[in-house]
């Protein structure tokens, strides 16, 4: 036998012959790959491996050799004898694998839609498994939402029951009361009538009796008189006769005079009703109504709640109306004739696990127990499909997945995996979730089969040692029909089959049993099937009846949602404190040009002006802080703050100032106050930084600290506490914004939509302004004169302002935007546009009104901003105060320092002075806008104080504006339309980052490829986003920077190899600061270079070394809103922080793996909440520091699970705090929530779209597009 087998073995592959080809020397070898490999292509010869005979190859290649038919017969015979399984690849022809491009027997892979070899396929299946695991994790994590909802629904059921019972009781009670009253009254009336009747009756009876008596008496008298008086029969005495006569006279008299009241007794007693009986009946009949509060806007509500809260399952929450709608669609699609648009019907008669058009599908070679049932099922299902379609249990999955569905976000990944492919798991036999249409996998026959198989395998492996009893134990496995095709190649399996064949009787026996069992199973499945519709019917009796219920629940969800928003905001009170100023400011700038026609209510005007004043003064009063700080240079951790009472009180200034801005002018109006600021402001900015964080952490504590620190003036202290309340009130109001909005929306759609449009435009202007360039590039900005004017205090003052202000402002503004944004995007799909906009308008309105003025009446919506804006500049108050503040600053002891520092900054045209210039320029514009003082201010060489006066005013207004930014104004000057354009552009893209991130997977576009010409890269490393979403790439091994526009078109490139100015040596990180300067980590030159926006060299700092300000392979680099430069000093395992002019500020981190230590930190990012995010590469984690280098948190471990890293490189943070990590070792991008919890990941190794080889830097654009440097592929991919 063994020899026989050996004869069937190819000498080359040592395997059973596959397609044996006979050489002229009579030796046979497999055609592929054996014979193929023997070919000497040069000589077109084959040398027989056995006898070394050389043969010419036929014209059409080795396949031209005759097939060794005899051998093939033997092979078949062998198979028949041994019962061995045929080679699955027999009859197939080798092709190149689509993935590894090796020649192999390929099968089509569902994952990548390529023909791939089994190994690659295995890998892909692993990927799928992992993906499933990952998604499953997500599902698991998100499942609690459903259970929460379930709990909610249960609770709702309970409360509904309670509600109904109580209502029923109420109704009963009313009924009882009414009935009792009715009964009482009725009885009373009846009694009255009875009594009346009886008395009357008695009277009448008496009368009757008396009359009777009278009549008889008189009758007898008459008779007597007739009989005896007229005759003389009887002797009457005269007196007797006289008496008789009298009696008769009396009788006559009586009869004549007697009048009984023989009135109309028929109407004696009347029943009069107090009310019209008909009415009364009506009243009673409708004595109460059941009002059922159907919360309106169910869709909005649900979509809101769906969008915002968590990355959980969205679609599963899809309300059944949607589902039914899809069902409807689907029915429409199917009834005409099954499939439309070539899309594969998810039903199509297929079952779970069948391949579409695959060779398994047609039952012929189906194996096992399924074989019997299959046919039945098919028939049945086709027969039933119509019924079911009416019941609406079609594959909702597929439909809701359709591309148009904007809510399919979460599932996009799974879907794309399965889309357009065979839906093996979704078949109509399967019970599906009535809401989501998600199939229950374990109902699917395929799954059942698989599970059973594996179970049986287990069982079998246990059972095989035992000699005989198997057939009974596993009747299901023993379908005789299936044996030849059986795929199970286990030896025992074969043995068992053989055994079976021998013992036919047993097998037929088992077969019968098998049948029975399958039939039974079939039955049970049937019953299942018949059950499920009923189930679903029970759960959702009809799409309509439920709405109230779900609406309620969704309503509550949306409430939760808003609560969430509140919670989000709460931890950052500093931000929320500010909205009044910021929103006011933005609108204001806008208003002044566009909406000047709006009416201004005077009350508002005054109110606002006051408020703006206070804000302004706050800002101005804060200003003096920085100089000293700069002077102090290294006072990075603010130890000094505590040393002097002055400075400690300065700690409190910030919150105080902030609160005052909202609440009252008292604060700012008092000169002492502002003076104290200017005096105490020394360490303000440092302490402020801390405070920002403190505030973020604990609002309460802040008040405490401020009260503690402001010992010097306790009066203000109390003020501190007071203003807080209005702020909070404002917050609360904002928080109920969505609700307000909903109610408001009913009232005024028009105004709502109006304001909504404005709102979005604000958002836009804001987002733009963050990256806006036009302001930076303004012509005057470059001019030296401007630099001069910006010198000394004023210049640095502005700097201060922006320094201290922007961060909180941004965030507050942005937070708000976000909360709205999150709610928005889904709306259009479910609501009419009108509702959508109005809703949004309501939102914005309620929010802004709450922020700006609590007492703003509803209808002044449109005029909300205008008075503010008008008064903003014009108010005398503010002017006088500003001058006051400025003067007080001038007298402050800090001033010289300020001058000096400004001077130094100016000296080399450093960023500091350019900051100043830029800011100055900005304010100068403002001035122009106001009073056309610009020219005067600019041209005159007047004293700085007067200039400051002229500038001071706008400055102050400006400082409240930082986020609205100058470029905003620019636009207003130049083209008012540009806003709308930008809006239109931005709105579509940038709305909900979170949702957006979940959608990320598909490549938007990619830039470059290997090469050194412009637009190509060699090992791109750092990437940054510049103003106007410019894409800036550090093309490391081409030693240059390349700049692309936001669509990937190359704009310019600069830099070359070398170590002089403007030359690079394998630069790594790149950053762009707010004024468009490029900051470059010139890696092998161990220095940082700063280039101006046009690519000209400005300065460089650093050299190789490990002391402060020196580098060892600086890598990632970033800059924060204040212009500080953070450098990943990779080989020194630390982060160094510099001022924008290159002055060393501080450092943190040391080599190690403890918290706070770093090992080869590669990239760094700073959020706008001043969280410094560092990719601690060799520790496989991300660490988050505060700006002082204290660890806030750290997350990630080594691994490839979600949330784990392998050598994380690039990090980026978007303006909402979402953290993006280029997980280089895992070749994927991971996205985390601001709280560092995992959101999602995508990407894998490879060179295709969305695949990576060695990730480096990552950056995120303001519209949420993710840029990533795909190093080994020498390209930048954009998602």
């Amino acid at each position: 036998m063994e020899q026989f087998e050996q004869l069937l073995t190819c000498a080359i592959c040592l395997d059973r012959y596959r397609n044996p080809k006979l050489l002229p020397c009579q030796h046979s070898f497999c055609m592929e790959p054996c014979m193929d490999g023997l070919v000497d292509y040069v000589r077109r010869q084959v040398k027989c491996p056995e006898c070394r005979a050389e043969h010419r190859i036929p014209y059409n290649g080795v396949q031209g050799y005759p097939t060794n038919v005899t051998l093939q017969r033997f092979l078949e015979l062998h198979i028949e004898i041994t019962g061995e399984l045929p080679d699955p690849t027999s009859g197939q022809i080798m092709k190149r694998c689509g993935v590894c491009s090796e020649k192999a027997y390929v099968t089509s892979c569902v994952h990548c839609e390529k023909e791939v070899c089994s190994d690659c396929k295995g890998a892909h299946m692993d990927i799928l498994r992992r993906e499933i695991a990952r998604i499953n994790n997500q599902v698991r994590r998100a499942l609690h939402r459903l259970s929460d909802m379930l709990a909610g629904v249960e609770k709702n059921m309970l409360t509904l029951q309670q509600n109904c019972t109580s209502v029923t009781e109420e109704v009963d009670e009313i009924y009882r009361r009414l009935a009792k009253a009715l009964k009482d009254r009725t009885e009373h009336l009846r009694g009255e009538i009875d009594r009346y009747l009886s008395t009357e009756l008695k009277n009448l009876c008496n009368l009757k009796e008396n009359l009777d008596i009278e009549i008889s008496n008189i009758q007898s008298n008459c008779d007597l008189a007739d009989k005896h008086m007229q005759s003389d029969d009887v002797e009457w005495e005269d007196s007797e006769l006289m008496d008789a006569k009298e009696i008769f006279l009396k009788t006559v008299d009586f009869i004549r005079n007697f009048e009984t009241e023989i009135g109309d007794y028929s109407r004696r007693a009347k029943f009069l009703m107090a009310h019209d009986p008909n009415q009364l009946v009506m009243h009673v009949a409708s004595y109460g109504e059941l009002t059922i509060h159907a919360p309106h806007q169910a869709f909005t509500a649900s979509s809101n709640s769906l969008q915002a809260p968590s990355p959980g399952l969205m679609r599963s929450k899809s309300d059944h109306r949607l589902a039914s709608q899809y069902r409807q669609d689907e029915r429409n699609a199917y009834e005409p004739g099954g499939e439309i648009g070539g899309r594969v019907s998810p039903l199509g008669g297929r079952k779970f696990g069948e391949r579409y058009q695959s060779r398994y599908s047609r039952g012929g070679d189906r194996n096992d127990y399924d074989a019997d049932t299959t046919h039945d099922n098919e028939n049945r299902s086709s027969a039933r499909s119509r019924i079911r379609s009416r019941l609406g249990r079609h594959g909702l999955n597929e439909n809701t997945d359709s591309d148009t569905d904007s809510r399919s976000v979460r599932f996009s990944e799974t879907n794309t995996v399965h889309r357009e492919r065979e839906r093996v798991l979704d078949t109509e036999d399967v019970a599906k979730g009535p809401l989501s249409g998600i199939t229950r996998l374990c109902d699917s026959p395929r799954v059942m089969k698989r599970l059973l198989e594996s179970e049986n395998k287990d069982k079998k492996s246990e059972a095989t040692p035992k000699p005989q009893p198997q057939p009974v134990q596993q009747p299901k496995k023993v379908t005789p029909q299936a044996t030849p095709q059986r795929q199970l190649s286990e030896d025992d399996e074969i043995a068992r089959i053989k055994r079976q064949n021998k013992t036919a009787s047993t097998s037929s026996d088992t077969e019968r049993r098998d049948r029975v069992s399958t039939i039974k199973r079939d039955d049970s499945r049937d019953s299942n099937r018949s059950n499920t519709p009923a189930d679903s019917a029970r759960k959702t009796p009809a799409p309509e009846p439920l709405p109230t219920d779900t609406q309620e629940s969704s309503e509550s969800e949306s409430e939760e949602d808003s609560v969430e928003v509140v919670e989000q905001r709460k931890p950052t009170p500093a931000r929320t404190t500010f909205p009044p100023s910021t929103s006011a400011a933005t609108t204001d700038s806008r208003r002044s040009s566009t909406a000047s026609d709006n009416l201004a209510s005077k009350v508002n005007t005054r109110l606002k002006s006051n408020r703006s004043d206070s804000i302004e003064s706050t800002c101005s009063s804060e200003t003096p802080g920085t100089p000293v700080r700069r002077n102090a240079g290294g006072t990075y951790p603010s130890d000094e703050v505590k040393q002097s009472p002055v400075s400690s009180s300065s700690g409190s200034t910030t919150p105080r100032a902030r609160f005052s801005s909202v609440s009252s002018k008292r604060d700012s109006a008092t000169p002492t106050n502002s003076r104290s600021y200017s005096v105490t402001g020394n360490n303000e900015s440092t302490s402020k930084k801390e405070e920002i964080e403190d505030e973020e952490e604990e609002e309460e504590e802040e008040t405490e600290t401020s009260s503690e620190s402001s010992e010097t003036d306790t009066d203000e202290d109390s003020e501190d506490a007071k203003p807080k309340t209005p702020v909070n009130k404002g917050m609360e109001k904002t928080d109920i914004g969505p609700l307000l909005a909903r109610s408001a929306q009913a009232r005024d759609n028009g105004s709502g939509s109006n304001s909504s449009s404005r709102r979005t435009s604000q958002d836009e202007s804001y987002t733009r302004s963050r990256y806006g360039t036009s302001g930076y590039k303004s012509p005057s900005y470059q001019s030296p004169r401007e630099a001069d004017t910006s010198s000394t205090a004023s210049g640095s003052k502005y700097l201060n302002n922006t320094r201290t202000e922007p961060a909180p402002r941004f965030t507050s503004r942005f937070l708000k935007t976000k909360s709205i944004q999150e709610e928005n995007p889904s709306k259009p799909s479910y609501n009419s546009d009108n509702k959508y906009t109005s809703d949004k308008g309501g939102l914005s309105r309620s929010r802004t009104s709450a922020n700006l003025e609590e007492d703003l009446p509803d209808d002044t919506n449109t005029s909300t901003y205008s008075p503010y804006s008008k008064n903003h500049y014009g108010s005398d108050l503010s002017r006088s105060r500003s001058s006051h503040a400025l003067k007080s600053r001038e007298t402050s002891p800090d001033r010289p320092v300020t001058n000096a520092s400004a001077g130094t900054g100016e000296k080399d045209g450093a960023a500091l002075s350019s900051w100043a210039r830029y800011l100055k320029n900005k304010y100068g514009n403002r001035g122009k806008e106001n009073a056309a003082k610009d020219n005067a201010a600019a041209s005159s060489a007047s004293s700085s104080s007067s200039r400051r006066l002229s500038l001071g005013l706008p400055l102050r207004s400006n400082s409240t504006h930082v986020d609205s930014s100058d470029d905003d104004q620019k636009n207003m000057h130049s083209s008012p339309t540009s806003h709308t354009i930008i809006e239109a552009g931005m709105q579509g893209v940038g709305s909900t980052p979170r949702v957006q991130y979940l959608q990320k997977r598909q490549l938007l576009f990619k830039i470059g490829g290997r090469g050194s010409e412009p637009g190509y890269f060699t090992w791109p490393r750092g990437v940054a986003v510049g103003p106007d979403n410019l894409i800036v790439v550090a093309d490391s091994s081409n030693h240059r920077i390349q700049v692309f526009d936001n669509s990937g078109k190359i704009l310019k490139d600069f830099g070359s190899y070398g170590n002089s100015e403007g030359e690079f040596d394998c630069l790594a990180g790149v950053a762009v600061n707010r004024i468009g300067q490029y900051i470059i980590a010139d890696r092998y030159n161990h220095r940082i270079q700063v280039l101006d926006p046009s690519g000209r060299f400005l300065r460089s700092f650093g050299s190789q070394g490990s002391s402060d300000g020196r580098f060892n392979y600086p890598w990632g680099i970033t800059t924060d809103a204040l212009g500080f430069i953070y450098v990943c000093d990779k080989e020194n395992h630390r982060i160094q922080v510099f001022q924008s002019d290159g002055t060393f500020v501080g450092k943190f981190g040391s080599n190690g793996s403890k918290i706070g230590q770093l090992e080869h930190p590669h990239y760094i990012a700073v959020s706008n909440t001043n969280r410094v995010i560092v990719s601690d590469c060799n520790n496989h984690r991300i660490q988050i520091f505060d700006v002082n280098g204290r660890v806030i948190s750290s997350f990630g471990t080594e691994g490839s699970e979600n949330g784990q890293f392998k050598f994380p490189k690039g990090v980026a943070v978007d303006d909402q705090g979402y953290i993006l990590v280029a997980d280089s070792g895992n070749n994927r991008i991971q996205i985390f929530h601001p709280d560092s919890t995992f959101l999602r990941a995508f990407g894998c190794w490879g060179c295709g779209d969305g695949e990576f080889k060695g990730l480096e830097g990552i950056a995120v654009m303001s519209n949420g597009n993710i840029l990533v440097c795909d190093r080994e592929n020498h390209r930048v991919q954009v998602f």
Partner: protein
């Protein structure tokens, strides 16, 4: 590293299951294409009693090209040079895919019993072998004792 072809797996399996007498080939733990080979000196040859270590490497296109085999143990043999390289036709131009690891090793074992000084690789050895076979054999025995025996 691409996947191991079935043939190599099969050969390895068979080598382990049915080892050739006097020959053992163990695949390296880290590289299944690299084998640690030990060949005993054939009887009635000057190498009798010796245990010769070889290394064998299956190149990427094996079996279409010959395995690379080299003596690690020093051996005094006209067809094996002092670096251990073997002059054997089937390892060169006479390679055939129908040959296997075991056949190669058997051939090498056979080469030990039948040195071919007419096709020398180590010229000095071959010279001596031709001129003074007795001394050559004595040298071979000496080397075998020195290098190819335990301890």
């Amino acid at each position: 590293m691409s996947v191991l072809p079935r043939r190599i797996l099969k050969e390895t399996q068979r080598l382990m299951q049915e080892p050739v007498p006097g020959i053992s080939a163990q695949p390296d733990e880290g590289n299944a294409r690299y084998f640690h080979v030990k060949v005993t000196g054939p009887e009635d040859s000057p190498f009798e009693g010796g245990l010769f270590k070889l290394e064998l490497f299956l190149p990427e296109d094996y079996p279409m090209s010959a395995p690379k085999v080299r003596f690690i143990t020093k051996i005094y043999h006209p067809n094996i040079d002092r670096l251990g390289r073997i002059c054997l036709d089937i390892l060169k131009d006479k390679w055939s895919p129908a040959l296997q690891i075991r056949t190669v090793l058997l051939s090498i074992q056979a080469l030990l019993s039948a040195p071919n000084p007419d096709d020398p690789l180590a010229n000095d050895v071959a010279e001596l072998w031709k001129v003074n076979e007795i001394e050559a054999i004595r040298n071979a025995k000496e080397w075998t004792r020195m290098y190819a025996t335990e301890n």
